[in-house]
């Protein structure tokens, strides 16, 4: 990526294969969730990761937060090698890297008041101690995410989806992180609430100088929030480009199909739809050669046998398809 600002996160060949074989004596059966992912994120920028279910985008995000242990590969954050992880390193990194999830209701203890839920990570990570100081910090965080101070005394069920997502964000911000992975954070919300939350993320980025990885299946959300966009298909990065560039001049046939498939709320936009045949194949036995070859409308004979590499095709623009420019 173009080099004005420094890369805060560098990922090299990160891979996760899950063994999904049942039983002790069963032959190992590997689900290749993420294969050989390499990319970097610059400080203060947002990398959007877009892909359909099963593309590996969430697994990738979770590996960076050490919620899933990678099979191989390496990554560094602010000069610190992430793997192998050890408890003291993890404690230190937790204060720098945080995550916000899709369903804040599932990640909030229903018996814990909101104030307690927000205080928990602050206490657990040893950021502050003393009831009064933590209480003040909680009030500050509630204000930061646009909730009234009284919210501290309510329970999660008293809140709407949008408000719960604000609580989820406040919890992540408690340790004053530099970097947040946002995994489908607006997918469960109605469009007017989604706009409120997206604006909040933008405002926080500006005010606190945060760096984000934004994971979503929704291309218009990703386009709105990202500086760079990474498209994943069946565990692999198929294209990375600056956001505007990716949308104006998508190189990979999959990216083009994905963009053309988005129904746009504009009656004057007549896009030539590229309809893909069939479904995404299983990540247990992905197609040989190019993984998209089984559904690609541009596939040729070689595509089923030769696995293409991710190659530069413009400034900050990388694509995994040798024929994309023909």
């Amino acid at each position: 990526m173009s080099g004005k600002s420094e890369a805060i996160l560098q990922v090299r060949g990160l891979t996760k294969h899950f063994n999904i074989a049942h039983g002790v004596f069963a032959k190992p059966q590997m689900l290749r969730a993420v294969d050989d992912a390499s990319f970097s994120v610059n400080r203060g920028e947002t990398l959007g990761i877009v892909g359909e279910s099963g593309s590996g985008k969430s697994t990738l995000g979770r590996m960076l937060l050490n919620l899933i242990e990678p099979t191989s590969g390496s990554a560094s954050f602010d000069g610190i090698e992430l793997f192998p992880m050890n408890p003291s390193k993890e404690a230190m990194l937790r204060r720098k890297m945080q995550m916000v999830f899709q369903d804040p209701y599932a990640s909030l203890n229903p018996r814990l008041k909101i104030g307690e839920a927000i205080a928990e990570p602050i206490r657990a990570n040893g950021v502050l101690s003393g009831k009064k100081r933590i209480g003040e910090r909680v009030a500050e965080l509630l204000d930061l995410v646009g909730l009234p101070p009284e919210a501290a005394h309510s329970y999660p069920h008293e809140f709407s989806g949008g408000q719960r997502q604000r609580v989820g964000i406040a919890r992540a911000l408690g340790v004053s992180p530099e970097f947040i992975v946002c995994d489908e954070v607006v997918s469960a919300l109605d469009v007017s609430i989604q706009a409120q939350i997206l604006n909040l993320f933008a405002e926080l980025k500006e005010r606190l100088g945060l760096t984000y990885i934004f994971i979503s299946h929704d291309f218009s959300v990703i386009k709105h929030v990202s500086d760079d966009i990474m498209v994943m298909y069946l565990g692999e990065i198929v294209e990375i480009a600056p956001a505007e560039k990716l949308f104006e001049d998508p190189a990979h046939p999959y990216t083009r199909a994905l963009i053309s498939a988005i129904p746009e709320p504009d009656v004057d936009v007549v896009t030539e739809k590229i309809l893909l045949e069939g479904d995404m194949p299983s990540a247990v036995s992905p197609p040989s050669g190019c993984r998209f070859s089984s559904r690609c409308y541009m596939a040729r004979g070689e595509c089923a046998s030769i696995h293409p590499a991710l190659e530069a095709c413009g400034e900050g623009h990388f694509v995994r398809c040798p024929y994309s420019r023909q």
């Binding site: 706009a195 386009k223 746009e264 893909l276």
Partner: protein, 328 residues
């Protein structure tokens, strides 16, 4: 719009509510009037809690027992379905009107193969067909909705199908008897975008053979598939028009807000417009215009008087006090 094609489904001042714990009726749907015409798709849009699904379920009379109809009529052709018996309704459902839901896995029986489930609809409504004819017809239906190798897939069970394929099976069941109206409630919300595009293509093909009522929160889908649109807020229709008018010239502040809140693929919006607040629960619906607490153009009258749905331009109606003079 005009009179080009015949009315398939007409709601006239239809109202419904639910009985609360104290036995009082709380209004949910307030005097809905709209028409679905043959060969067309009517899009019903609004956020969660606006009454879209309840409107769809009303048309097939699949309402839970707490729901009470408070008035109005729902005409299917020239028959008021609020007046037919449950037995007659069972004949109508599946034959004249059918519905597809968001999550196909919960609507399919996991222990029966999909061929059996499609055949069941035919056995119920087309007793004149022999078993062999039913089997043959099932295969051709599955082929029509785009399931590859249907002669093999009929023996498969729902769990052996992907989400998109299951939704196709549901659609095959719904169209088995060529109903004059198909109601689809968020049919692609659980699907990936490339699969959604496939299912929407199928929907477009189907509407030309009958009529479609498409319930969705996604305005993009409406722009892609529908001719007419009704925008619902808190159980009322706030705007009703042909799709082009609504997107080009939205009148109601809620419609404007909904459109402005969507992140755009084209051009760069720095910050998204967001409608303040959220949809209230039915028992807290405010007096006057139900949108008034969230409206940035609220006037005195909005908090006291319900704005009627008024036709401002031919085919374009809006329920908002800003337009009560009829002027734009």
């Amino acid at each position: 719009m005009g009179h080009e094609s015949k009315a398939i489904l007409t709601f006239t001042d239809y109202s419904a509510g639910y009985l609360d714990d104290e036995g009082k009726t709380v209004n949910l749907l307030d005097r809905l009037s709209f028409t679905v015409r043959s060969g067309q798709a009517l899009g019903v849009v609004g956020e969660s809690g606006c009454g879209k699904s309840l409107t769809g379920l009303s048309a097939v009379r699949l309402l839970s027992r707490q729901i009470v109809v408070q008035g109005g009529a729902i005409l299917l052709g020239d028959r008021n379905i609020l007046e037919v018996t449950e037995k007659q309704m069972q004949e109508i459902r599946g034959r004249d009107i059918a519905m597809v839901f968001q999550e196909p896995m919960t609507s399919l029986n996991p222990v029966l193969n999909v061929g059996f489930q499609v055949e069941e609809v035919l056995a119920r409504h087309r007793p004149e067909l022999s078993e062999a004819q039913r089997k043959e017809h099932t295969i051709s239906l599955l082929r029509e909705v785009g399931i590859p190798a249907p002669e093999k897939r009929v023996r498969d069970y729902p769990h052996q199908f992907s989400g998109g394929m299951r939704q196709r099976v549901m659609i095959a069941m719904a169209i088995a008897c060529r109903p004059s109206l198909l109601i689809a409630d968020e049919p692609t919300t659980a699907l990936d975008v490339t699969i959604q595009a496939q299912v929407l293509e199928l929907m477009k093909k189907l509407k030309s053979k009958g009529a479609l009522m498409l319930i969705t929160h996604n305005l993009g889908i409406i722009a892609d598939v529908c001719e007419e649109i009704i925008v619902m807020y808190a159980g009322r229709i706030v705007e009703k028009a042909d799709v082009r008018s609504v997107f080009k010239n939205p009148l109601h502040p809620y419609t404007k807000g909904l459109i402005a809140a969507i992140p755009s693929l084209r051009g760069k919006k720095k910050s998204l417009y967001s409608i303040p607040g959220m949809v209230p629960a039915a028992r807290n619906f405010p007096e006057g215009c139900r949108f008034n607490p969230r409206c940035e153009q609220r006037m005195e009258i909005c908090t006291t008087t319900v704005p009627p749905l008024v036709e401002i331009q031919p085919g374009h109606s809006v329920a908002c006090h800003l337009f009560q003079g009829g002027a734009l």
